[in-house]
Subunit: 316 residues, 2 copies
Amino acid sequence: MSIVPRPEFPEHAVVREVGLRDGLQSIATIVSTARKIDWLRDAHAAGLREIEVGSFVPARLLPQLADTAAVLAFAKTLPGLRASVLVPNLRGAHGALEAGADLLILPLSASHAHSLANLRKTPDEVVAEMGRIRAARDASGAKTILEGGVGTAFGCTLQGEVKPAEVLRLMQALLDAGADRVSLADTVGYANPRAVRGLFEQALRIAGDRFWCGHFHDTRGLALANAYAALELGVARFDASLAGIGGCPHAPGASGNAATEDLVFMLQSMGIATGIDLPELLALRARVADWLAGEPLHGTLWRAGLPKTLAAAVAA
Amino acid sequence: MSIVPRPEFPEHAVVREVGLRDGLQSIATIVSTARKIDWLRDAHAAGLREIEVGSFVPARLLPQLADTAAVLAFAKTLPGLRASVLVPNLRGAHGALEAGADLLILPLSASHAHSLANLRKTPDEVVAEMGRIRAARDASGAKTILEGGVGTAFGCTLQGEVKPAEVLRLMQALLDAGADRVSLADTVGYANPRAVRGLFEQALRIAGDRFWCGHFHDTRGLALANAYAALELGVARFDASLAGIGGCPHAPGASGNAATEDLVFMLQSMGIATGIDLPELLALRARVADWLAGEPLHGTLWRAGLPKTLAAAVAA
């Protein structure tokens, strides 16, 4: 099958900051609630309007994210911010609905091996959980958007290959079970731009406007190339974390998520509006890097600085 | 103008290793001729068939490359290897022709400010030099291919904007003056994939089969995304340096060239044959990193390792 990318790019794109959840989750240094609130305030001031603020999981499993309710409560005071939280199951979803999250993400791993190891559920059991979460959301009257995030969509460190047909079957099943939106994640950095083109094109056919977000890890340096391949198909929402925090437990020191600042730079240098002020974002990165001294940080733009030619675009 | 990338990718691509020239040129540690020969031998054994081995410039300007003739003489003993050298002018070209280089690259900076600062010539004076080099090559009977490399093709740290029309005019002028091949280089990491798509599409129209190579620096993290954008247009030859050495004199510590190992990984994971054995290349990277201890090195694959899913492709 030949897929021809679109000749035109989106005019606007959304970068969702996931450093406060996906990033901090794999970092040993405990960041205080006060600093998370500083981070949120400054990210919002820099123009970010979608932020994943934490995870409703038992505090004993992820002490780093035990203050998610407090962080979310602050996020709700920031005008125009869509605050997302991750939930592993119905119990977490109840927490997210009660706390008034604007969006909750239920992760599903398309790799059966990874799903059992990580969530202790098969992928289809996670689909069933989405059905229960949908019922709970509808019964509660909450406006929380339900996102089903299909991870290990390009392969898995435990299982190796993950078949695209299985990824797409599970995405369809999540929609059928009541997800409002679905996303695809290259959890372990196995994707390449050709594979992104192939899988995302089919995912967009299945989900249409309900396709939400591309989540690319930079474990092997391809996060931005992969994001570009999705962008060419019209995908205009991406996850990223400041300084690329996120890591990969199987490869100590390896890159984690796409670095927010580098992704925003790519988009803006292409003339795609993000609403984000890059100098402010780089200033925030410097503060966060200070808080996380000793942790592996990533990204390139912070060192090289903005090119002269972007000055006009940044000011616009 | 809307440019539609090709639906199909090239089946094969060539990665030209430039670490021995563009890489070492900006590194303080002097690498001995014996180690350069080890590097060449092992790069050839790993499957690389195009290598830029040095530069015919006065030794007092670049002592790191003073042994280019000796390194080139060894390169010529490696079967099937196309050995390139850089020359700044006719005098250097005489050296390259006498030494029997398979290809010589004359760099031209499309930024007038950069050209004057770096080469002490206007771009059009460099075009005229290509005419003299062509005459010398033809008179000598040498089979050396003449490549005109148009640098700062996406902007310049001194001048800021470089107009695409000027880049294309100079590319055409190099061909008219007798260059066999022309290339485009993002010398300072100002390119983005949309700009690559736009400029390379026009360059391919002008140069056709005489378009040779894309040279992308990773100063701001976009080298692989930019290479992918060129690949989509049918470009199938790229410069890269092992461990991304090359640097940017204006941004200490910033990334330099695309890292050979990451670029080869991207191509091979896309099913594009490069003839290169990635585990052997990573082993060579480890040795070179040892020689360059203390210098800023880059790239991501070396830390994360190959994904399970690439095992079959690597073995093939």
